[in-house]
């Protein structure tokens, strides 16, 4: 079973799984090395129990940009069955009156630190940045993630059903991200989005140069940043080459083929080179993003998404052409030099250019209101003369973020066969007065604003804020 270990570093190995080489035979430790699982912390996520449900007579933003009126959303077995205007509820389904309500897909936050920077924000729980070396590609955010972070339940009340949890941006290469569903679980594995790829967090600009420059080591400048990325990619490419050579020998049946030594840091980067792991890069300035794009071509990898991308509007044509998403704030700007040119129309301009525009939070406060951040951008875009439908604005917090983390084949829009991640809003989600009334995850009613039994609280908050406290 050599193939299992090889698969962890080489997609090729999966396709050519064959007899193990003799290399590891003959000892228990050798057998262990040979049999190591390629997915050592597998998702154990199981959808909560659900019943066939129909939301009837609602305004439905499908997430694709479309809006249906007087529509019926039918879900069964955890999946969307149908979304039709004027449709009837199937026999036996639990019916929810959608009159006056607005339905959207579950919101998706492509940039979150829930669980890795949890509340209370005490030092002992501050696990988001392994700021000990500019390249920590070997660390995984899921190993820091505290499932009891009280912020998860707040995000759920805001309609967030899936999110990408990333390491912070102290390092040039910060480690692997994890995609989770927003469900209460005793374990991280119980939250992990089944089948989702991991991301690899990288960071441009001020943060790495500040963190390491202040320690009097490289990078202390932006040119130091690029030297650091390129040296790391070069090593990763050489690592991948060694494994490719080994794989070629092994395929020829060479019994003396010796696998290269595994390296957890380079394994992550090699995964990113192959596209098994998505590159998610924190980058504010247009000029830096342009240089990163050239670097990605130098080494032959793809940037899936620029995060924050405060100046994306300046190069939106390039980002559209390159097919790189931008995960952005509606109106954060000016807290650091590289965010000084932030404008409220950034996301709207990206969208108008045909680029993949994503409203993200990077915050356990604004992630509770991603819908309203989309509304801010929509309003700003319309004021400058862009035509933006309500449905299109909803796409920035549903299908586009799903696409940016490659789960758009499974969720992010209300289309038959997709996960029934659904939010019923009390009115337009693009209003300050919006509340998510019901949130379904894989068809299961997971949050209900009117039912305290459907308002999960993590362990940490138990027993706090009793009525007796009030004077």
């Amino acid at each position: 079973m050599r193939s299992t270990i090889l698969a962890a570093v080489s997609a090729v190995a999966l396709a050519v799984a064959g007899p193990a080489s003799a290399q590891f035979a003959g000892s228990a430790s050798g057998k262990r090395l040979a049999d190591m699982p390629r997915d050592p912390f597998p998702s154990t996520y199981t959808p909560l129990p659900s019943v066939p449900t129909a939301i009837v007579g609602a305004t439905v933003h499908t997430g694709t940009g479309a809006t249906l009126n007087n529509a019926t959303v039918v879900m069964s077995g955890g999946k969307i069955v149908s979304v039709t205007e004027g449709g009837a509820a199937p026999a036996g389904a639990t019916v929810i009156d959608g009159k006056g309500k607005v339905v959207t897909p579950g919101l998706i936050d492509a940039h979150s630190h829930l669980g890795v920077y949890p509340e209370p924000s005490v030092d002992s729980l501050s696990d988001g940045n392994e700021a000990t070396d500019p390249n920590t590609a070997e660390v995984w955010a899921e190993h820091s993630l505290w499932p009891q972070d009280p912020a998860f339940s707040r995000a759920l009340a805001g309609g967030v059903t899936s999110m990408q949890i990333l390491p912070g941006s102290a390092n040039l290469i910060g480690g692997r991200s994890v995609v989770v569903k927003n469900v209460w679980s005793r374990s991280v594995q119980g939250m992990k989005f089944p089948g989702a790829k991991q991301g690899m967090k990288m960071a441009c600009g001020e943060n790495p140069r500040r963190v390491y420059g202040s320690k009097n080591r490289s990078p202390a400048t932006r040119m130091g940043n690029f030297a650091g990325y390129r040296a790391a990619w070069l090593k990763a490419l050489e690592y991948q080459y060694e494994w490719d050579q080994f794989e070629a020998k092994r395929q020829k049946g060479d019994p003396a083929a010796k696998p290269p030594k595994r390296d957890l840091e380079l394994e992550t980067m090699a995964g990113a080179l192959r596209g098994d792991i998505l590159v998610q890069m924190h980058c504010y300035r247009a000029d830096e993003m342009m240089q990163v794009i050239d670097m990605s071509k130098e080494f032959g990898y793809r940037v899936s998404q620029f995060h924050h991308a405060v100046e994306a509007y300046k190069i939106r044509d390039v980002l559209a052409k390159e097919g790189i998403c931008g995960a952005m704030w509606s109106d954060w700007w000016g807290f650091k030099m590289e965010s000084f040119d932030g404008i409220m129309e950034n996301i709207a301009l990206m969208d108008a250019a045909g680029a993949c525009a994503v409203v993200h939070s990077d915050s356990n406060v604004t992630n509770q209101r991603l819908n309203q951040d989309a509304a801010k951008v929509m309003a700003a875009g319309r004021r400058m003369g862009l035509t933006i439908s309500d449905g299109q604005a909803i796409k920035w917090v549903t299908l586009n973020p799903a696409k940016s983390i490659a789960i758009d084949d499974k969720t992010g829009s209300l289309e038959p066969g997709k996960m029934a991640d659904v939010v019923v809003w009390n009115g337009s989600p693009l209003s300050v007065y919006a509340h998510a009334e019901k949130v379904f995850i894989d068809g299961a009613l997971t949050y209900d604003i009117n039912d305290p039994s459907k308002q999960a609280r993590g362990d940490f908050e138990l027993g706090m804020n009793s009525k007796e406290d009030v004077r």
Binding site: W332, W333, F335, K336, S363, Y433, N465
Partner: protein
């Protein structure tokens, strides 16, 4: 290209150049006076910087500049009760930050006013979203006293104004605990000693002049700055969050007969009855709902609604992660309070009338009434709605420039990918 940019933005700018010589009448508006009921199809008239009439069916005076609000809504100028507007350009660039003193010779005596930059980029960006006044608050340096804040009127040119020494800022929360010596016990021991020293200073000024005074917890400069606080003239603006901390502040206010304004008050709802009874106004960020620290475990979106219901006078500010750059979100934050149980009118009052009263300018600002300064905002929709924005902002009766650096950036990049399009740079 530059010409067309200016043309595209010319309309609102034109008002800025219109002098206040002629009276102005805003017609066809829903007017939220805040002092009374809203007036559908109302008119607001101001002249020489002062509101002269507000009502339904008023006719514009002869020669008035008439602005048809086209069914929009009109509010008083908004007042942010806690910000760094005017004293900070970029949060993480220390060189652009005028909010605090690290000088060991003084803390309470620190005054933000000389650091105010009337031309700071953030002023126009904040004003564009209807904020006409903002408290520039000092941040904490060496002691639990940050120093003295200022009230800024965010006008362009002659309408810009600074009222210094509007309040003394003190922290009895985690920041104060760290600065006082690591515990709440140290905080309150320090406070008692400082107040004792202020009284000693008052009685023995000559001893200080002659260098014969006993040792004091703060320097002479600080003690002098605290005199107005101890005689109840200057508000003591105290940050506290835990219910027990708030109760200690209430006790202190009564014992020393201080004029106290509470800030933060994440757990204010738990002791709202006691706060109301003590007649202490409270400044909160209505979006803070996470148990971010062990003295904030009771944080809830209903804090505003519950304190209001108990009779607490509330004012709002953007005080979370976005404090340093998004004071402009004030109307949105008030809307979120309204969305979470606070009556709409009370939420609007918490960014207009209440802060005007709390900061001692209620006779001139905060409502739309004849005789008040004409700080007036015309909105293109519900002023608390996230998608709404002002079409006009008047300060002291003068139409304000609505073009920000951000607008110029947007216009510059309106078209991209056209060869040499940006060549004029």
């Amino acid at each position: 290209m530059r010409t067309s940019v200016i043309l595209a933005l010319a309309l609102p700018f034109a008002f800025a150049t219109a002098a206040t010589a002629a009276p102005t009448a805003i017609i066809n508006a829903t007017v939220h006076t805040v002092s009374g009921a809203k007036i559908p199809n109302g008119t607001v008239i101001f002249d020489n910087g002062v509101i002269t009439a507000v009502g339904a069916g008023l006719s514009a005076p002869a020669g008035a500049t008439v602005i048809d609000a086209k069914g929009g809504q009109v509010t008083p100028g908004l007042i942010s009760s806690y910000s760094y507007v005017g004293i900070l350009d970029i949060e993480l660039e220390r060189t652009t930050n005028e909010t605090e003193s690290e000088n060991p010779l003084f803390s309470a005596a620190f005054d933000v006013a000389p650091g105010v930059n009337p031309k700071a980029n953030m002023i126009a960006i904040t004003r564009k979203r209807g904020v006409t006044q903002a408290i520039a608050a000092p941040d904490y340096g060496k002691t639990i006293f940050a120093g003295q804040g200022a009230m800024l009127t965010l006008g362009d040119g002659p309408q810009f104004a600074v009222v210094p020494k509007i309040g003394m800022f003190m922290n009895v929360s985690e920041t104060g605990k760290r600065l006082a010596g690591g515990s709440r016990g140290a905080v309150w021991t320090f406070i008692r000693q400082v107040f004792e020293d202020v009284r000693y200073f008052e009685r023995n000024r000559n001893d200080f002049d002659e260098n014969k005074a006993r040792a004091t917890a703060l320097t002479r400069l600080d003690l002098e700055a605290l005199v107005p606080v101890l005689i109840g003239k200057m508000p003591l603006v105290v940050e506290a969050h835990r219910a027990a901390d708030i109760q200690n502040v209430i006790k202190m206010a009564a014992e020393y007969k201080l004029k106290v304004i509470l800030v933060g008050a994440r757990e204010g709802w738990k002791v709202a009855g006691e706060i109301a009874k003590a007649n202490i106004p409270v400044i909160i960020d209505p979006t803070n709902n996470l148990p971010a620290r062990f003295d904030m475990l009771g944080s809830t979106l209903e804090n505003a609604a519950k304190m209001h219901a108990a009779g607490v006078k509330l004012a709002f500010a953007v005080m979370g992660d976005q404090i340093a750059y998004n004071a402009r979100s004030l109307s949105y934050y008030a809307g979120l309070a309204a969305a979470n149980g606070m009556p709409w009118d009370a939420a609007l009052a918490a960014i207009t009338k209440n802060p005007a009263e709390i900061w001692g300018m209620g006779s001139k600002h905060g409502t739309l009434e004849a005789g008040k300064i004409a700080d007036v905002v015309i909105w293109d929709g519900d002023p608390l709605e996230v998608t709404s924005e002002p079409s006009h902002v008047f300060i002291g009766g003068a139409a304000q420039n609505m073009i920000t650096r951000q607008d110029l950036l947007r216009e510059r990049y309106k078209n991209v990918g056209v060869p040499n399009q940006l060549g004029y740079r």
